[in-house]
Symmetry: C2
Subunit: 587 residues, 2 copies
Amino acid sequence: MSEYRAPLDEMNFVVDRLHDLTSLSVDINNEDASAELLGAVLSEADKLANQVWSPLNVPGDQQGVRLEDDGVKAADGFAEAYRAYAEGGWGSLYFDPNYGGQGLPFSFAMPVAEMAQASNMSLGLCSMLTAGAIEAIHAHGSDELKDVYLEKMISGEWTGTMNLTEPQAGTDLALLKSSATPNGDHFLIKGQKIFITRGDHDMTDNIVHLVLARLPDAPVGVKGISLFLVPKYLVNADGSLGERNDAYAINVEHKLGIHASPTCVMSYGDNGGAIGYLVGKPHQGLMAMFTMMNNERLVVGLQGVGLADRAYQHALEYARERVQSKAPGQPDSGAIIHHPDIRRMLMSMRSLTEAGRAICYLTAKQIDLSHNADDAEVRAQAQRRVNLLTPIAKGWPTEVAQEVTSHGVQIHGGMGFIEETGAAQFYRDARILPIYEGTTGIQALDLVGRKMLVDGGAAVADLIAEMQADVATYAGDLTAGQANNMREAIAALELSVEQLLSGAADDVMLAGSISFDMLMLAGYVCGGWQMMRANALVEGHENITFAINKKATAAYYLDHVLPRAFGHLRSIQAGSASVMAIPADCL
Amino acid sequence: MSEYRAPLDEMNFVVDRLHDLTSLSVDINNEDASAELLGAVLSEADKLANQVWSPLNVPGDQQGVRLEDDGVKAADGFAEAYRAYAEGGWGSLYFDPNYGGQGLPFSFAMPVAEMAQASNMSLGLCSMLTAGAIEAIHAHGSDELKDVYLEKMISGEWTGTMNLTEPQAGTDLALLKSSATPNGDHFLIKGQKIFITRGDHDMTDNIVHLVLARLPDAPVGVKGISLFLVPKYLVNADGSLGERNDAYAINVEHKLGIHASPTCVMSYGDNGGAIGYLVGKPHQGLMAMFTMMNNERLVVGLQGVGLADRAYQHALEYARERVQSKAPGQPDSGAIIHHPDIRRMLMSMRSLTEAGRAICYLTAKQIDLSHNADDAEVRAQAQRRVNLLTPIAKGWPTEVAQEVTSHGVQIHGGMGFIEETGAAQFYRDARILPIYEGTTGIQALDLVGRKMLVDGGAAVADLIAEMQADVATYAGDLTAGQANNMREAIAALELSVEQLLSGAADDVMLAGSISFDMLMLAGYVCGGWQMMRANALVEGHENITFAINKKATAAYYLDHVLPRAFGHLRSIQAGSASVMAIPADCL
């Protein structure tokens, strides 16, 4: 099995040309944000992904992790691979230079994050959660906390975790019970948390847990949740590590996939209470945690893109090598890549991956603008776009990754079902993506509720207007059928938003009944929009094969993938009636 | 975790009313084929599935199988469970009474087979392959072979296997190399076979392998393949077991799913040659094996239905119990079943399962007619329908089972990714279904090639005409939107057949490029057709809740599932151009 290679031309093209890096660098006033530097960064990151992270992916899946008396043990080689990542500065690209970060745009970190996730998702998860924890501490922590923790986390010497879920409180954090009791300059945290990714490991000297818990005077519900920083080892005044904190992994789950990523049951305070420090204001922990989650939702979407790309590379290699049956127009039995149905699957994988990448990177660019644009109105407009795109960028590529990794299995035929082939691992690993960091159902409710109903459809109307303007600009490069699909698909999104806005007040079941279809419709349309733009903007690319392939992939998407939007529209138009027709007790 | 219960009202309804058991019993002149007997049979079979087979499903997955020095060992309890099945006569329902069979219609065996697959697919596979082997020997074997082997196989005392695949010859059996050398009254078989389900086990005294191999004078290609019966133990003249034959499992695969079903690498003739007996005529083995495969393709479709139903039951139970978040219109946090998006997934699972069941059982009814109708024209017409429906009944429910079992995982949220929950097993087990017994790609090529292009679309035109006539009869019971969806979906199938027939000659890539979309389109339309019929024919059913639910499920399918047909049509209309645009070397 060959190792992962990053699609460097594609990644550079999407950041630089499709999403216009030149204008971004002007808008955010960051001269470092050049195509040259981007190219250099990505080329170096590819080496790490290819040579260090990717070769550990299969062994990590086979070996898994284990909980021993003194904690969780990573799979062989993982500690060294994570250290190579940290020492290369790959975890610090977009962070604050005041704490050792490199101050590059988030847009630069996206392709690097994609490489991390594609080459070894179990390791990539550690980078992702650490980055999210850094963001939350940076945005909400006191200067003292920042001074103690940020530099070590940004350097990769310490990792971070996110502790939300309890057995009774998953999607519904209002049911959360963990407690925090004031105790001098800190708090004593008690409670059990589940599904804690890398809640313990032996890859770094310390782990910084961000933990949601309730203060003694907390109001009920989500407005009574506070955020605490709970280090595995306490940190002395001189920065050296002190005593072991009362925070332990007491179990690791046996999961369908990501076997090399320990998913821990964490117990806080079994021996009196884990020492924790408040991050942000009392009772406003959920908002602070959402700083972390919004970043992570986008990176989970990117995990879908990364796994999809790797599954594509893996299936492509098999399709080139496996000889079986004579294809149409071929003289003899040949490689299965010559069969149209294999080609259909490869093109589906490829086009869905490229569409997902364009959406995720676009969201990252808008995040850069929302944080760093000089112009306040540009920042505000970008923030609205980020808010709208985030559930789409999390939900759609992760759903699509199920299909793409399944095609990867299917192209291998019977061998795809045999674990040693490797195709099944991508399929198993991908299955967590539409679940964690908010299920697809939660993303879909976020999209139709907070991102559409709350503003009366203003943000999505802006997006639709921009897509329509782009159709006017770029549709001339398409076939009539493709242009027609694109126009109709945008109109389908518009129609379904109208239906949502006009119907939701009278039918409380409407939004939830159509939310999944609306998320998928929005994803397909946004993907089509970006593929249409890419088809035009790749014109004149110096790599002619890349340009030809990009155009052909866009054509495939617009011909064969985008039409799924019409099925979603028709389903949306049927509303909630038959969704809710059978009473819950009679199902 | 509760055990599987067969949906008895639904199964009886589909066989008896939806597919009109009364007319079948007249047409095939079988007075035993009554609704009363059907009900009694299914009710008893449910007990075995619920009490004996289902409880072993999870332990079997966890324990798996192992190859020891003296052969493959089944998981604990599997031998006893298989014996209970055999002793209950469940393996003999539709077979020839001359060899101990019960002579019931195949239509009776279908729901029983579904229960077997749903309760324990790893065991169900053994029943399925044994039944296929019985059919092939019954149809093509000499009287002597039939006398020696059939009774023991029909009684369940011996099991059967199917040996086609070799490492270089999977889909493309022309590449097959195993050899058969004449040696007195038998042949000596040599060669290696892979992916042999239950190629060895210790559940029964003997195993009857059907093996494809080449005679010394065989023409090249598929026209030089012969079929041989190779018993694990030779059978003495008095019917007792003799020497161990030279046929051994030399490896069992480590697979994504069906862990309790040994998938063996079989080696024939390592010690001089395995004794085998010719089944049917020399060089016509593939045709004889297709007797076995056509039955098995339908039963694989049924495995999709069975797994889907079980995943639905399992997810429904969780959705009722798991309390999380306040649903619209509810005063407080409650069970997640009250959330519309959970309901959407449950209704998708339910409606896809029911549609798939109706298609599979319809195919079984046509098989009964094709074999046993008194009228030769009825037999011929039924055979044409069986030929057309088989790739749809295999391909569509198995693709759909991926979605349904994935919904089952998703409804469990984070718990769905944890193996102990059980949802992941259905998802893993289901992944083999679109692969074995001919991949979906092969089913799709069979559909557009042998079943549409060869007869100039005659058989599918007959089917479309029948569906249109049924719309005229039954659409009055639907909403305008549902009736419109149904009419448009049938028209979409008609349009795509026209495109195939008119375009395939000039574009050799067309059929393969659109074949998957055509298979899925045909599946959705056939499913809609049957759900529309069910909506009308359930009227007056004595179980009022069943009738109300059936109507609501049909409504959901016609509102929310059937519209996917329109996306497939649009993709078909785009033809092969962008599927094949990137040359194989440039991908």
